[in-house]
Subunit: 362 residues, 2 copies
């Protein structure tokens, strides 16, 4: 703290991301990264870029990338807002929509950046407990909320709510912006009935809906920092006003070109997502055989707790074996470890370390 | 405007950047871009990047890039803060330092994003007129300012203040954060006496000083979005608290690698800056012969006004000839056009268009 800071800086409680590693030899299952590389078209694009064009500012409106995303999701280009990772998009959304005279409502267990944004923008908020099964209990959300936000699938539980659930929320709160953070939606197993998994089709009917997405996880592009929001033109315009009061050019020219290359390779995208889903199902089963119960995850991570051994201890023993998972020392979460889904080899290494730690083989 | 926006969104007056062009054949001298490409090492780095590493989040602290910048400027790594362009760095600085109970002071003619940030963060501000020669009059800055910010060289005047001037400001305002925005400092002609041009050496003595820089202009990397601040560890920590409450990972992995490649090629950097300075001197002389007077620029642009012909008319006629310069329809600025320094060929095209417009040949 410093007398030279703006006084509010002392009141901030910055977000703490999962640890990154500069060393090799780590089985890194702690920050929900994709174990598979991005589409080969990403490598081709990087190789073919003419560096000369970097001397020019990028398009401040990210017109091409927005059009690409709009076409992919079958919405209008004016319904797309692109930012420097979905964290930046979410930050602008909190500022643009949630500074209201009634409190913003979100689950007590969800992406832990949400209360951080509230402190940054002095937004009153109310954290509403998940039920005993870690599912959102919509009956507890007040009719007169200043806004609603949740992740779907939720993080770090991995639990998915159907689009029908979300439509009921939108109907119950027509005068409130509802943000659905779909960072993990691409890892939901397709519904047998063919129902929509995403809230995106609801955009056509609900002008108060914002859906946020990221290319970090399902497109293996966490290193690039591209996220986006889809919403009514009216809400996107609000985001643009805030963005254009903060940074005219948040999206760099390389990231824009590379992201478009990823969107052009649907087959690779689908097959990578499927591999992660398959690995998840296998890992859940293998963990069960070691005495772990997992929450029903639709994301690229699972929350698991062992029948007898404390999670903090397992987390530390894994770390000592160079297998990194994440542990949240928080109420209700401290019983679990969160494991990002690795490749088949990484998951095998994890299981082998767990067997040794749990002395299953002894 | 929308009833779903946070009410403050209506009060914003977003920044309007200079126009970017998707078409070729434009002589683009409107947004202070470098006419020369970045170092060849930038192209090599792009070609050699392994796309696989993009699946991982970048280092949230930009440790390697910060160390590279610290070493280049001979400061400690803890004195460096890297962001998504200097616009983002400036935005965080306004939030972290200038939300005070006394008004922030800056020149009436300077980077026009400053008042935009003030509206975004509800910062009281006072614009203090430049003197009749467009020079900052320090005697008009109140002792009890809530903060001071100015660009040096100033934009869009191009006028440079010596490090001695800046030291006097720091001495007069020891309890106030002073931000010196050095976006254009690399285009100042070296002093014949060898004096420091930058305020960076003053960091050793003034814990209230922040110097901001960008790689957009002098390093020909506007497309990448990398800027940084240098300051005392105490002030950098304030910036980090705000940044970590906004976006954990603002700097993407490609931009970080490419920027380091640029810093490793000092010879290329120096020679490019020198070419821009040489082109500026030649352009000023050539414009004088066409009846233009220019402010004394130390930047990669000049503010010029013609003896008899209105600037708005010249601006429009140039645009019709596919030569883009910038025109500010604002008090005291509307007499000028701002011309970014192009390559020798671009400047020749500009001069030829101007001759035709002014009918000098007729």
């Amino acid at each position: 703290m410093s007398s030279l800071w703006s006084p509010f800086v002392n009141s901030l409680k910055p977000y703490v991301p999962g640890q990154q590693s500069a060393t090799s030899g780590i089985i890194k299952l702690n920050t929900n990264e994709n174990p598979y590389p991005p589409s080969p078209r990403v490598q081709d694009t990087l190789r073919q870029l003419d560096a000369d064009f970097l001397r020019l500012y990028p398009d401040p409106e990210s017109t091409e990338l927005s059009a690409c995303i709009a076409s992919y999701h079958n919405v209008e280009a004016g319904q797309v807002f692109v930012g420097n990772g979905s964290d930046e998009v979410l930050a602008h959304a909190f500022n643009a929509f949630f500074r209201q005279d009634k409190p913003l409502c979100f689950p007590d267990i969800t992406y832990s950046f949400y209360p951080v944004y509230c402190r940054l923008y002095n937004i009153d908020f109310k954290m509403i407990p998940l039920d005993d099964n870690f599912v959102i209990d919509w009956t507890r959300y007040p009719e007169e909320a200043g806004g609603i936000i949740f992740a779907n699938p939720n993080a770090p539980t991995g639990i998915f709510q159907s689009a029908d659930d979300i439509e009921r929320v939108l109907q119950a709160h027509p005068n409130t912006v509802v943000v659905v953070d779909e960072a993990y939606i691409d890892f939901v197993k397709p519904d047998a009935t063919g129902s929509d998994l995403s809230a995106i089709p609801l955009l056509a009917h609900y002008p108060n809906l914002v859906v946020t997405r990221t290319v970090s996880k399902s497109r293996s592009l966490a290193g690039l920092r591209i996220g986006y929001a889809l919403a009514s033109v009216e809400l996107i315009d609000g985001l643009k006003r805030v963005k254009n009061s903060f940074n005219s050019y948040p999206v760099d020219a390389v990231a824009s070109a590379v992201t478009q290359a990823s969107f052009a390779d649907e087959d690779y995208f689908q097959s990578t997502c499927q591999r992660v889903v398959d690995n998840r199902e296998q890992l859940v089963a293998a963990l069960a055989s070691l005495g772990f119960a997992s929450l029903d995850s639709s994301a690229n991570f699972i929350m698991a707790r062992h029948a007898t051994r404390p999670s903090a201890e397992i987390y530390a023993a894994l770390k000592a074996s160079n297998v990194w998972v994440r542990y949240f020392n928080a109420p209700r979460l401290k019983d679990f470890i969160r494991i990002s889904i690795g490749s088949a080899d990484e998951n095998a290494e994890l299981l082998s370390s767990l067997k040794r730690i749990l002395a299953v083989d002894n």
